[in-house]
C-alpha cells in the first residue's frame, strides 16, 4: 500500500478553535490518490471535505489548526516541511482551483500577467517568455490567445474558471485539487469544465475533486470517497459504490438523486448534520440512520475494507447480505 | 441575531455592552473611566477647586506647587480651578450641541431613509454637501456671525454635526428597511410612524451610541478649536482652548503649565469618548458577524 500512491493522507485531524467551542472538522481521516487517478470526495456542506483539501495546501487559517496526522506527497510529509520548501511544491506540483470564479482572480491585473507570474516565480522565466507560455496554456484551456491582456471582469464566469484552471495546470502539476469548481456555474458550462478537467486526467494529472453532488462525481471519477460530519464513511471504485453502496448515508444520497430516464421516488435523508462541537456519541450518522442500533449509538465504527471498497459501519455485515 | 416583531427597549443594548465578554471591554472601561472623571470634575467643581477661576488669586506665572496644583496664569488665576470649571463649559457646550444635532439629524435620517423618494434625494444632496465641507470652517463662520457665547458655540457645532447623524441613521434605516420583519410589520397594518419609532429606531440604538461617542469626541476638539480662535467664550469664563491661546506666547519662554494642562485636558476628554466609541463600534461589527 506504500509505494505507488501520489498522495497519502494519514489520520488527519483538523480542529477549529472558536469562541463557542472546538469544532472537530476533520476527525482521523485517511485517503490516498494514485497517479493519474480521479478521486472525488463527496459530502454535505460542513462535512469537512473542503477543510481536508485545504489542509493539503496549508490554506487552513486560524482559528483552524491541523492537529494531527500526516500528508505524504510522493513520500514526503507536507505538514512537516519548511515553508520555503513547501512553496516550491505548491503551484508547481500541486495546483488548486477554487469554487467561485468571480472572486478568485485578482481584479486589478490582466489574466495574462497572473498566469505568467507562475512561470516567473517557479521557473525563473523572463516576462516575455512567460507570457508566451501563458498564451499556450490559455489555448489549452480553450480561451483564445488574444484574451491574454483582458481583465477578469471582462470575462464570463466560465471563462474565468478556465483561467483559474490554466493558472493551476500551467506548470503541469502532478495533482490538481478542485474545490467545487462548477458549483457557481450553469449546467452547460459545468459540463465543459468537467471535460477540461478530464482531459488533464488523461494526460496523467491526478485529480482530487471536492463536491456535494454525488451524481456529478459519479460521472467522471475513478474512485469516490464519502464524508460525513468530519469522518470518512465510505470509499471505493465508482462502479462498485454506485451499484452497491454499503453505508446508509451513501444509500440515502443515491436515493435523493433524480433520475431523468425513469420514474423514481426521490427520498431525502431525514434530520440535519450534527453540530461538530459536540457530535453524537458512537457513529455520527446514527440519529438519522434507519438501521441504527445500540452499538451504533455507543461505539464509533472503524473503516473496514473488502478489496477496494471500504466502509465504516457496524451494520456492514447485514448490508452485505442485501 | 433574530429580530422579533415586538419592539425592544432602547436601554438593553447599553447594558449588554457592559456585560458581554467580547474583546475590547478593557478599552471601553478605560474610556468610560476617563469620561466619568471629567463629569465628576464638572459636577463637583465647587468642591474640588479651591479658588474662583475668574478672579486673580495670587501672583501671575507661579509654577505648580501645593497651593496651586497647576500653577497660576498670566493674570494670576489658578490654573487648576480653571481646568475644573472649564470642564463645565466644555461639557455643557458639547452635550447641548450633540443633543441638538441628534434631535434634528436622527429624525431626518429616519424619515429620509424610510420614505425615500424626493425628500430623500433633496435632503441627501443637501447633507452630503455639508458633510464634505470642513467642519471647523463652517463652525467658524457661524460662530463668527453669532458672536462669542457658549450657547452660540453650541449652535454652531450642532449645525456642523447634523449631516453626520443624518447619514448614519439614513444608511442603517435603508438596510433595515429591506429586512423581512419590516415587511411583516407592514403586512400587519402597522402605521409607518409606529414602525419607525418602535421597530427601526431600537435596532439603531447601538449605532447611535457609537456615532454619539465618536462625534462627541470630535465636537470636543472642535469646541476647543473655536475657543482657541477666540470664538467661543469671553473672558473671564474659563475654557480650555482659550487658555491655550492666551498661554501660547509664554509657553516657549518656559512657563509650560499655562498651556500643558488645558491642552492635555482637551485631549484626555476627547480620548475618553473616542475609546468608548471605538470599542463599541468594534463590538458592534463583531456581534453582527457572529
Amino acid at each position: 500500500m506504500m509505494s505507488g500512491y501520489l498522495l497519502e493522507i494519514k489520520d488527519l485531524v483538523v480542529k477549529y478553535y472558536t469562541l463557542s467551542g472546538i469544532v472537530r472538522a476533520v476527525d482521523h481521516v485517511s485517503l490516498s490518490i494514485r497517479p493519474g487517478e480521479w478521486l472525488s470526495v463527496v459530502g454535505e456542506s460542513g462535512c469537512g471535505k473542503s477543510t481536508m483539501a485545504y489542509s493539503i495546501v496549508r490554506l487552513i487559517s486560524p482559528p483552524g489548526r491541523i492537529v494531527g496526522g500526516q500528508i505524504l506527497f510522493n513520500g514526503r510529509d507536507l505538514l512537516s516541511m519548511k515553508p520555503k520548501e513547501f512553496r516550491k511544491i505548491l503551484g508547481r506540483e500541486i495546483g488548486v482551483v477554487f469554487q467561485d470564479p468571480m472572486t478568485s482572480l485578482d481584479p486589478l491585473r490582466r489574466i495574462g500577467d497572473q498566469i505568467a507570474e507562475v512561470y516567473m516565480t517557479h521557473l525563473g522565466m523572463k516576462k516575455k517568455e512567460a507570457l508566451e507560455k501563458a498564451g499556450e496554456v490559455l489555448e489549452r484551456v480553450g480561451i483564445p490567445r488574444d484574451k491574454i491582456n483582458a481583465y477578469p471582469h471582462q470575462m464570463s464566469g466560465g471563462q474565468r474558471q478556465r483561467v483559474a484552471i490554466a493558472i493551476a495546470v500551467a506548470l503541469k502539476p502532478k495533482l490538481l485539487i478542485a474545490d467545487e469548481p462548477t458549483t457557481a456555474l450553469d449546467v452547460i458550462v459545468q459540463d465543459t469544465i468537467m471535460d477540461l478537467l478530464e482531459s488533464f486526467k488523461e494526460e496523467g494529472t491526478s485529480i482530487l475533486f471536492i463536491t456535494h453532488d454525488l451524481a456529478l462525481a459519479a460521472e467522471r471519477s475513478d474512485r469516490i470517497a464519502v464524508m460525513y460530519a468530519g469522518k470518512l464513511v465510505e470509499e471505493g471504485l465508482v462502479e462498485e459504490l454506485v451499484e452497491n453502496p454499503l453505508h446508509p448515508y451513501t444509500q440515502g444520497l443515491l436515493r435523493s438523486v433524480p433520475d431523468l430516464w425513469g420514474p423514481k421516488k426521490i427520498e431525502s435523508i431525514p434530520g440535519y448534520p450534527p453540530d461538530l462541537r459536540s457530535p453524537p456519541p458512537g457513529c455520527r450518522f446514527n440519529p438519522r440512520c434507519r438501521i441504527a442500533d445500540d452499538t451504533c449509538r455507543k461505539q464509533e465504527p472503524v473503516l473496514n475494507c473488502i478489496g477496494e471498497h471500504c466502509v465504516a459501519c457496524h451494520k456492514t455485515g447485514e448490508l452485505l447480505k442485501r | 441575531m433574530d429580530k422579533k416583531i415586538k419592539p425592544k427597549s432602547l436601554l438593553s443594548p447599553l447594558v449588554k455592552q457592559l456585560t458581554s465578554r467580547l474583546p475590547g471591554r478593557g478599552l471601553l472601561l478605560v474610556g468610560l473611566g476617563i469620561v466619568l472623571v471629567f463629569i465628576c470634575m464638572a459636577v463637583f467643581a465647587p468642591w474640588i477647586s479651591s479658588y474662583d477661576p475668574t478672579k486673580m488669586v495670587d501672583k501671575p506665572f507661579l509654577p505648580p506647587s501645593p497651593e496651586h496644583l497647576m500653577g497660576t496664569n498670566r493674570i494670576g488665576q489658578d490654573v487648576f480651578s480653571r481646568i475644573v470649571w472649564g470642564s463645565r463649559i466644555v461639557l455643557y457646550v458639547v452635550f447641548s450641541a450633540t443633543l441638538l444635532s441628534m434631535a434634528i439629524g436622527i429624525p431626518l435620517g429616519l424619515i429620509s431613509g424610510y420614505r425615500g423618494g424626493k425628500i430623500d434625494r433633496v435632503l441627501s444632496m443637501f447633507m452630503d454637501s455639508m458633510y464634505s465641507f470642513p467642519a471647523l470652517i463652517l463652525a467658524i463662520a457661524i460662530a463668527a456671525v453669532l458672536g462669542p457665547s457658549p450657547m452660540n458655540t453650541a449652535i454652531a457645532i450642532a449645525f456642523v454635526y447634523i449631516p453626520t447623524y443624518f447619514r448614519m441613521i439614513r444608511g442603517q434605516t435603508l438596510s433595515l428597511k429591506s429586512q423581512l420583519f419590516i415587511d411583516a410589520a407592514h403586512a400587519l397594518g402597522i402605521p409607518d410612524k409606529r414602525i419607525m419609532l418602535k421597530h427601526i429606531l431600537p435596532n439603531l440604538a447601538h449605532t447611535i451610541l457609537v456615532v454619539f461617542s465618536l462625534s462627541v469626541a470630535d465636537a470636543i476638539l472642535t469646541e476647543a478649536g473655536l475657543s482657541f480662535l477666540g470664538l467661543s467664550v469671553t473672558p473671564p469664563t474659563p475654557d480650555w482652548g482659550y487658555d491655550l491661546r492666551v498661554g501660547q506666547p509664554f509657553f516657549l519662554n518656559g512657563q509650560w503649565w499655562l498651556v500643558f494642562f488645558p491642552g492635555l485636558s482637551v485631549m484626555l476628554l476627547a480620548m475618553g469618548f473616542a475609546l468608548i466609541g471605538e470599542a463599541l463600534s468594534e463590538r458592534l461589527s463583531l456581534a453582527q458577524s457572529i
Binding site: V57, L59, R87, K88, I89, L90, G91, R92, V96, F98, T103, S104, L105, D106, P107, L108, R109, E117, V118, T121, H122, Y151, H153, A164, I167, A168 | M125, S129, M130, S132, F133, P134, A135, L136, I137, L138, I140, A141, A144, V145, L146, L221, G225, F228, L229, G230, L231, L244, R245, Q248, F251, L252, F260, G263, L264, M267, A270, M271, A274, E278
Partner: protein, 340 residues
C-alpha cells in the same frame, strides 16, 4: 477605454459637483447675510455715524440691493474671480489679492501635511492589518486614537518647544527666513526655490515646513490608520488572496497585491477627508504663524470683515468641490473596472 472617454468622464463628473457648490454657496451666503446684525454696523461699532457714510459703506459692500440680487450678483462675481473688497483695515482691497497670496501657503502646508499623514497611515495601518488580532494591532489602533484626539495647537506648541526651543534646530514660525532673497512664482515656496535654483531658500522653506506639516500629518494619520487597517483586513480575507497563496507566490508579493487592491478605496476616502485637513490646517496656521487662508480668516474675524470671510469660505467651498472631482478621476484611472 480611450482618452476621449476620459475627457467625457471628467466633464460629467464636473457637472455633478455643481449642485454641491451651489448648495454650499447658498448656505454660506444665508449664514453671513441673513443672520442678525448689519455687518457694517458691526464693523464700525455702534457709534453714531452719518447716514450718508453708512449708505456709502453699504453700497461698497453691495448691501443696498435686494437679497436675491445680491445672491446672484455675488455668484456671478465669484465665477469671474471677484470676491469683493475688504471692509476694514485696510479697506477696499480686493479680497482676491489676499486669496492669491494666502492660498498657496495653505495649499503647500496641506500637501505636505497630507503626504505625511498618508505615509504614516499606510505604514501603521499595514502593520496593524498584517499582525491583526495581536498586541501590535492593538498598539497601532491605540496610536490611531491618540493621534486623532491630539489637540493640534497643543501638539504643535509641544513640538515647537522641543525642536524650536530646547533643541533649537527648527524655526517656530513663518514660512521662510525673511532675510533670504527670494522670488516666488507659484506661491509654493519649496517648488519655487527649486525652480529658481535658490538653495538657501529651499533649505529655509523646508525647515519652516517640517514642524507644521508634521503636526498636521500626525494628527490626521490617526484616522487613516484605522482606514488602511480595515480595508487591508477586508482585502486579505478575499478569495483571490487565497488563490495567490495556492500558486506559491511569496508572501511579500501577496501583501503588495493586497495593498494595491485596498489602496483604491483608501485613497478616495482619504481624498474626501481632505476637508478635515483644511480644518486642521487653520489651527496649525494659527499656532505656527503661518500666513495662509486660516490666519487670514481669523484675522478678518477680529475686524468683523464679513466680505473677506465670505470670500475666503466660498473659495474653500470651490476648492473642496474641485478636490472631490480630482479624487473621482484618480479613482477612475486606478481601477480598471471603471469604464469611461
Amino acid at each position: 477605454m480611450g482618452k476621449k472617454g476620459l475627457g467625457y468622464y471628467i466633464v460629467i463628473r464636473a457637472l455633478m459637483i455643481i449642485p454641491t457648490i451651489l448648495i454650499l454657496y447658498t448656505i454660506v451666503f444665508i449664514l453671513l447675510r441673513i443672520l442678525p446684525g448689519n455687518p457694517i454696523l458691526a464693523v464700525v461699532g455702534t457709534r453714531n455715524i452719518p447716514p450718508e457714510q453708512l449708505k456709502h459703506l453699504e453700497h461698497l459692500a453691495g448691501l443696498d440691493k435686494p437679497l436675491i440680487i445680491q445672491y446672484f450678483d455675488y455668484l456671478w462675481n465669484v465665477l469671474h474671480g471677484n470676491f469683493g473688497v475688504t471692509l476694514a483695515s485696510p479697506m477696499g482691497v480686493p479680497v482676491i489679492n489676499y486669496i492669491a497670496t494666502r492660498f498657496p501657503a495653505t495649499l503647500e502646508l496641506a500637501i505636505w501635511g497630507f503626504s505625511f499623514s498618508v505615509i504614516i497611515g499606510l505604514v501603521t495601518g499595514l502593520i496593524a492589518a498584517l499582525k491583526r488580532g495581536g498586541k501590535i494591532d492593538t498598539g497601532m489602533r491605540l496610536y490611531s486614537i491618540i493621534a486623532y484626539t491630539l489637540f493640534i495647537p497643543w501638539f504643535g506648541m509641544i513640538l515647537q518647544y522641543v525642536f524650536g526651543v530646547v533643541l533649537g534646530v527648527l524655526p517656530t514660525g513663518g514660512r521662510i527666513d525673511p532675510r533670504i532673497n527670494f522670488h516666488t512664482i507659484t506661491g509654493l515656496y519649496v517648488l519655487d526655490s527649486i525652480l529658481t535654483g535658490n538653495i538657501p531658500a529651499l533649505i529655509s522653506s523646508i525647515k519652516h515646513l517640517i514642524l507644521p506639516s508634521l503636526t498636521l500629518g500626525i494628527v490626521l494619520s490617526g484616522a487613516y490608520t484605522r482606514l488602511v487597517r480595515n480595508n487591508m483586513v477586508d482585502v486579505l480575507s478575499m478569495d483571490f488572496i487565497r488563490s495567490y497563496k495556492a500558486r506559491g507566490i511569496p508572501g511579500y508579493k501577496i501583501t503588495w497585491y493586497a495593498l494595491k487592491n485596498a489602496f483604491i478605496p483608501v485613497i478616495t476616502l482619504m481624498g474626501l477627508q481632505f476637508a478635515i485637513l483644511l480644518g486642521g490646517a487653520i489651527l496649525t496656521e494659527t499656532t505656527f504663524s503661518w500666513p495662509g487662508m486660516g490666519t487670514f480668516i481669523v484675522d478678518r474675524i477680529e475686524y468683523r470683515d464679513y466680505n473677506s470671510i465670505q470670500g475666503a469660505i466660498i473659495f474653500f467651498a470651490f476648492f473642496v468641490a474641485v478636490i472631490s472631482l480630482i479624487v473621482d478621476v484618480i479613482y477612475a484611472l486606478l481601477d480598471p473596472r471603471i469604464k469611461y
